[in-house]
């Protein structure tokens, strides 16, 4: 799967706990997707591969 080049991932905080629990990405079809930190989630697996390549997500608001 080709990653969007811009924008990339952005960390998202849970507004109730204020903890980072997901990342946000805008995909090639302009959908805003919220990817939870769950290792069985294939989108999260792709995010981890992206991080392993040396990339860093934008900080959460």
């Amino acid at each position: 799967m080709a990653y969007p080049t811009n924008p990339i991932y952005k960390l998202v905080k849970n507004p109730f706990s204020d903890k980072e629990e997901s990342v946000k990405i805008v995909d090639a079809d302009s959908n805003t997707k919220f990817v939870p930190f769950d290792e069985a989630n294939t989108d999260y697996q792709e995010y981890l591969e992206w991080v392993a390549e040396g990339n860093t997500a934008e900080a959460a608001d």
Binding site: F16, E21, N31, F34, D38, A40
Partner: protein, 357 residues
């Protein structure tokens, strides 16, 4: 009153018994082939459910139309149309109760068949569904049986492979035989277990069935047919003809996909649309209805429950590109919260949740 004492009943020309009678406990085992239920390990095998839409020409790979049917391509020059298609009345699949197929329509691959070019469709199966199926998969005398209907506008042979994921990946390659152009053909394959197979009891990908519409020579080579062998990325299937791939607007359709434990292909297990939809929603659902958020202090929230427990915590997104939501939070495989950092009220959007393999 009379009593017949036998230990098996066999057809005159059959090689195996239709009914085997236990000589001591009064039970029997029968090879019944019709009206059986809960046998099909494939979800949406009749291609009835297409939550994402019925036709898509987008590039890239993923799930586009028919639920649970994954599409992959590489190196193509022109995008392929993925569609849920109608099966024509008067055909044999139609008379057997099949109304929909998963259909690919080729683009114009003007550059010809390069070594890295690929067009594939597959269904991924959870490991636990194989582990708990009753198939004694490490035994070569225990079987699963795959059946499907296939139609191609181009007369050629296609390879269909099963691939196990856990442990050392194992690959089992079958072939359709040369298909008659534009004619539905039923293919049945009985597949033995193997001591190298491993299926963990979890919700991860355990096996997939893959229709190789085309593979370039980078991924093809010497590969045994109808036998389990360790996966090799450079010889996933034998070399393929490129006839379909290099034919503009060529079509490829499948339906009636069933994978079941046992050495006999039983009649396809027709499930209702509602049953099939719920099975699909373990992996994906969308709700395009507008959601209205409730005030929560200076913010707005809404709790959304998924229709079924999903395979794992899903990726969730808006069904529109409005960007109204600040976040979707506290996502679990059962529910999630919509959140907007404003008390202004309605967000006016829907949800898509994806937990595909």
């Amino acid at each position: 009153m009379s009593e017949i004492k036998v230990n098996s009943i066999k057809g005159v020309g059959a090689s195996a018994a239709a009914i085997t009678v236990n000589n001591t406990d009064g039970t029997c085992t029968a090879n019944i082939t019709n009206n059986l239920s809960n046998r099909n390990l494939i979800i949406n095998g009749a291609m009835q459910v297409a939550q994402r839409g019925t036709s898509n020409t987008a590039g890239g790979d993923g799930y586009f139309t028919v639920d649970r049917m994954y599409y992959y391509n590489a190196g193509i020059d022109n995008d392929v149309t993925k569609a849920q298609a109608d099966i024509a009345s008067g055909t044999t699949p139609y008379s057997l109760g099949f109304r929909k197929s998963f259909k690919l329509t080729n683009g114009n691959q003007s550059g010809g068949a390069a070594s890295g070019d690929e067009i594939l469709i597959r269904q991924n199966i959870e490991a636990q569904d194989i582990a708990n199926s009753g198939w004694n998969y490490t035994s070569s005398s225990s079987f699963i049986t795959l059946q499907y209907w296939i139609k191609s506008s181009v007369s050629q042979n296609f390879y269909v492979n099963l691939m196990s994921i856990d442990g050392t990946q194992q690959n089992y390659v079958t072939e359709t035989g040369t298909l008659t152009a534009d004619t539905w053909t039923k293919v049945t394959k009985t597949i033995p277990g193997n001591s190298n197979l491993q299926f963990d009891n979890n919700n991860q990908k355990g096996m997939f069935i893959q229709w190789n519409v085309f593979r370039g020579t980078s991924a093809t080579g010497t590969r045994p047919l109808n036998a389990w062998a360790a996966y090799s990325g450079s010889s996933r299937v034998p070399d393929m003809t490129s006839t379909w791939y290099t034919t503009n607007d060529a079509t490829f359709e499948i339906t009636g996909v069933q994978l079941e434990v046992g050495s006999v292909a039983t009649d396809f297990e027709h499930r209702s649309f509602g049953q099939e939809l719920l099975l699909c929603q373990r992996y994906y659902y969308q709700n395009t209805a507008h959601l209205y958020l409730c005030h929560y202090g200076s913010n707005s929230i809404n709790n959304m429950f998924h229709p079924v427990q999903m395979r794992t915590t899903p990726t969730v997104s808006e069904t529109t590109t409005s960007g109204n939501l600040t976040s979707i939070s506290q996502i679990t495989n059962l529910s999630c919260y919509y959140y907007k950092a404003s008390s202004a009220g309605a967000a006016g959007t829907g949800i898509k949740a994806e937990a595909e393999l």
